[in-house]
């Protein structure tokens, strides 16, 4: 039925959610926007639309990205489609007081212009239900600290693509330690030249190989943090 026309509004809920997973995978933004609207009209809560349709769909995209089946161009298109849906859901999520997964401040370090991987992480984190403040590229330690203070996130994410800029992550972490703030945040690092050992050596909580791993790691650490607070 590859070329058969599908009328989204004629699908039942289960069919429509599966169709949305496909449309996310194919990066069809207009279709996602339309489907989000249909589910809301049918009385779905914004939180259910987010988790069951968008987050679940982006999880499939993330897994295939992690496994080397999808590459950056496809993931960018999928994330763009998801953003279309999120734009509709965001105000509704806030007004309905939906549960929050966690909050992240993310940015590429000073001297580094590369933001492709960082943008992917930000999009996938949003896709997983996190609130994300993206500081963009070329961030000094002062900019990171100011954002941490203003936003009070659970997670600080830092990215670098150059061997000339990756050591700057250590500058930021050392400053956090100096100010007694290091334990307040989960620090995740990523970028092509990095590896797990580097992440450990500079004092990050974890190195994340790609955006999909970043989401999994963030969820694990946030859950652990909440358990500690509860216990």
């Amino acid at each position: 039925m590859a070329d058969e026309e599908i009328i989204l509004s004629e699908l039942d809920d289960d069919e429509l959610v599966l169709q949305m997973h496909d449309d996310l995978y194919d990066g069809l933004r207009e279709e996602i926007e339309e489907s989000v609207g249909i589910l809301l009209e049918r009385g779905w809560t914004p939180y259910d639309v987010l988790t069951k349709a968008l987050v679940a769909g982006m999880t499939i995209v993330g897994a295939d990205f992690r496994d080397g089946i999808l590459f950056v161009p496809e993931v960018l298109l999928a994330a763009n489609a998801m953003k279309g849906g999120m734009a509709i859901l965001k105000p509704l999520l806030i007004s309905t007081g939906a549960p929050r997964v966690g909050k992240m401040v993310i940015g590429t370090v000073k001297g580094d212009i590369h933001d492709i991987g960082k943008n992917l992480v930000a999009m996938m984190m949003e896709g997983a239900g996190f609130e994300v403040l993206d500081l963009g590229i070329n961030n000094s330690v002062e900019k990171y600290l100011a954002a941490l203070e203003a936003e009070q996130p659970d997670i600080l994410g830092m990215s670098a693509l150059l061997t000339t800029t990756m050591p700057y992550m250590k500058v930021v972490i050392d400053t956090l330690v100096e100010k007694g703030l290091r334990e307040d945040y989960i620090v995740l690092v990523g970028g092509a030249p990095l590896n797990e050992e580097f992440g450990r050596a500079i004092g990050a909580d974890a190195y994340c190989r790609d955006a999909a791993v970043a989401v999994e790691t963030a969820k694990t650490f946030v859950a652990r943090k909440h358990n500690q607070l509860a216990g």
């Binding site: 026309e5 995978y25 950056v72 496809e74 212009i113 000339t164 580097f198």
Partner: protein
Amino acid sequence: MTDALSRMLASRDWILADGATGTNLFNMGLSSGEAPEMWNIERPDAIRSLYRGAVEAGSDLFLTNSFGGNASRLKLHGAQGQVHELNRIAAALGREIADAAGREVVVAGSVGPTGEIMQPMGSLTHAIAVEMFHEQAEGLKAGGADLLWVETISAPEEYAAAAEAAALAGMPWCGTMSFDTAGRTMMGVTSAQMAAQVDKLPNPPLAFGANCGVGASDLLRTVLGFVAAGAGRPIIAKGNAGIPKYHDGHIHYDGTPALMGEYAVLAHNAGARIIGGCCGTMPEHLRAMRAALEAHPTGPRPTLDEITAALGGFSSASDGTGDTSGDPKRERRGRRG
């Protein structure tokens, strides 16, 4: 065949390129976050000694300190108005060292990626990408670079834009991509796809290949991929000296000179004719590579097993060639008309 690299390729079996720029400059005191290109003006002696280090270690070709010298990247440092000057000086310093070498040494004007995503996925248009690369190329040309050396590219669109800029500047060029994601570039390009693209360009490069990525083993698998795709042009191999490790405040790559010597011989046997290093490759590595290449006549093409036995395992099970070229493997439910 009037350019220096073509002459050298015609008379030599292999050419030793250079090693790392960033790693070497760090060892001279460049701090993280600074633009290496500013040193062309601020510390020209350090750049001279970077170039001289490669030449004295036996490199036949070295890259200029201009990797991030395009307007998009220099903008970070408020230096987007200095593109021409920074590139011209990068090349002029190189010319000075090459001409004093006492043998023929090729000055290759390094051109790195813009750091932006091109349309339709991103916002950078072909016209603006060509304009940025062209501006940089004119600076390198004015400084006396023998050719342009486009490197660490991941998108075919950006590779094509750099090719067009080289034509506008009237310069010969070489171009490598970085295969760092499951055997492909970040944008999903396989070695076979790159080989096919190179042949279709209106002004193809003198040589093409791979640089950086995830270590020497992966890079050689990519070279074998070019050969399997029937590449007719000379192949470039510029792999990292192992994997980066962090020690006492600086980055150190774990590949020894002896290992890089083995890598050089394997690269040559795999089919590469221009062989160098990338991140972490210091003059002592280049010396070992030169000695190893001189000591070993061309041998049989290595198998993947021989590569991993000598240099370590691959970062992914496959190099992405030979499968369904990355088409989504999910069963589609159907598509709206």
